[in-house]
Amino acid sequence: MSISLFIYLFGVIAFYFSLRLQVDGNVNKEMGKRKISLIRQMEEAHSSVSQPPGRSEMVLIKPVEKAGSPDRYADTLIFNKEERKYELYRQLNFTETLNNQSFEVQIFKSLEETDLLIVSIIMTMTILVILLILTLLIVNRYSSRMVWSAFYDTVEKINRYDLNSHEDFALQDSDVKEFADLNRVLHAMTERIKSDYLNLKEYTENASHEIQTPLAIIHSKLELLLQSGEMSEKQYKALADAYEASIRLSKYNSTLILLAKIENKQFPESKMVSPEAIVTSLLENLDDLIRSKKIEVIREIAPDVMVLMNPYLAEMLIVNLVKNAVRHNVKGGRLKVEIRETFLRISNSGIEISADENLLFKRFYKSTSSPESLGLGLAIVQKICALYGFDISYQFREQMHCMIVVFNKGVGMDLNRDPS
């Protein structure tokens, strides 16, 4: 835009000067002709000055002492008494010798009219070009909006594309061949990726399910072998390790199945559940554990808080949070459970962790303090929160690790609020 304006400005100036040059050349040529006719006139008249033939032309002849200076063209301004202003004239000076008398002749030719012409030409040009540029701009903007809209739509959709969402990846049609090609290729690509992804997912899910039965066999056979009772300590030890490993494996497996199920939204049935009831029975179940660690339990529970959730997932959510809070607690520490209408906060004493808090929710992330844990608890919590649109966040304050689940407004709002 600015470049084209610059070029245009430059062009106008160049155009003006070239026009000027052209006009000057023409005037010069005319004045040259005039000079010849003037000399002829002077020769015929022997003397005296003939009046200039038109208003736009003046001739001044005055005697000088010696002739011989070359023809000289110049621009000059002459005061016009009638219009009381200076006007531009082209001037030709030459000397001529007649009858041994040298004369200097000055021919003036008005440039006023040609100047006007030039100006009007330039003006017309300018207006035309400005109009042209404006139309171009408008057309350009409009057409590019038309043409690129498909492109920007595509960019936006790619940006938002989520393999896990079950939405179709539909792109806007475009008349531009290149964009239509792009969309076609993109569509084919996402379809391929999606089907690969689904295949892989299905495969892992099936594998997980199929693994459970052989695992059950390994498990039960090992248990039987334990009962046979004719083994050395070394054999028992080997057996015990294998047994432990099979238990770990099956726990991993069933947890991964659970994660996949949450992702696939296979827990559709929801009802109002009471987080308080879950917390109460859970704390009861973990009571001896809590007591042995000398953990002080602080309950700050608002009455009658209900959340609309799948009961099983609600339990999983709270169990995992509380379990973590017990496991990562310090001896003589505190465990604080806060339930409000809008949020659930579970905090426990502990030393500050240096790790990136985003890593906490990653699968198989383990803190160094408890290497035996599966590292899947918080991944489950996060998946459940994502499913219900809850907001989960971690904070470390007042020497406590806090996990806060903010229930979504509308979904998790307290529906049975006590009117008092």
């Binding site: 059950a216 498990h219 039960s220 056979k221 001896d288 035996e372």
Partner: protein, 243 residues
């Protein structure tokens, strides 16, 4: 129903009732393992590997208890449960399923199953459930469990040694009951942990507590004059050894 005479040291002669158990599990190795574990518990076990055979058995005979896999190659175990429930009200049913699906669990329990075990499960856990069904069916409420000098009243969660009541926490009582249900068998720590805390605990976390509970339980039993039945097996688990 089959009755046989049994002799117990402290309670004298009582009629012990033998459960007829039908095991429906298409995975042959697994059902064999179940039968082998239950062997010597004094039950009559029959095994079938598919839906058709199971229907046949159920039509022909009466069972006291059924261990059912839901996913059978030619049908659903849930239908078998409905069928057997129609015939007998007292029948005990334990579902074992590879799919830890909440729907199946709820539906199974609604149509009358007593327990739902997810594969892989501990055989000791299955045995403990069978024992509790056994108690429910055989004693019809007046429910006392006697083993040498130990006597349990499961309904009231009370335990006695030589008629002196033991002071036990809830978990310790459950531990004792689990031991008695699986007497003379090695019970792994993982199996104990799962029985006591369910899925709520990662096994490794709870081993220390198992140790503490066992220590307390043993001390309490010895204090009341009970023999030391609880044996530790090389860091693997424990055995309630009557031999």
């Amino acid at each position: 129903m089959v009755f046989k005479l049994c002799y117990f040291a402290t309670s004298g002669i009582i009629l012990n009732f033998v459960m007829k158990i039908l095991i429906i599990e298409d995975e042959k190795t697994l059902s064999d393992a179940i039968v082998e574990y239950l062997d010597g518990e004094g039950h009559l076990c029959e095994v079938v590997y598919n839906f058709e055979e199971a229907i046949e058995k159920i039509e022909l005979y009466e069972y006291d208890c059924m261990v059912v896999d839901i996913n059978l190659p030619d049908g659903s175990g849930l239908d078998l449960i409905r069928l057997v429930k129609k015939k007998s009200i007292a029948v005990g049913i334990i579902i074992v399923s590879a799919r830890n699906s909440l729907d199946n669990r709820i539906e199974g329990l609604e149509i009358g199953a007593d327990h739902y075990l997810t594969k892989p499960f501990h055989l000791a856990e299955l045995n403990a459930h069978l024992k509790s069904i056994h108690r429910r069916i055989s004693f019809n409420g007046s429910n006392e469990l006697v083993l040498n000098e130990i006597k349990l009243i499961p309904e009231e969660h009370r335990a006695f040694v030589l008629d002196q009541e033991l002071v036990l926490t809830k978990k310790e009582y459950e531990l004792l009951l689990f031991f008695i249900s699986n007497k003379n068998k090695i019970i792994t720590k993982a199996g104990l942990a799962e029985h006591l805390w369910g899925d709520h605990m990662d096994a490794a976390d709870s081993y220390d507590f198992i140790y503490t509970h066992i220590k307390n339980l043993r001390r309490e039993l010895l204090k009341k004059g009970c023999k030391d039945y609880i044996k530790t097996i090389y860091g693997l688990g424990y055995k309630f050894d009557l031999s």
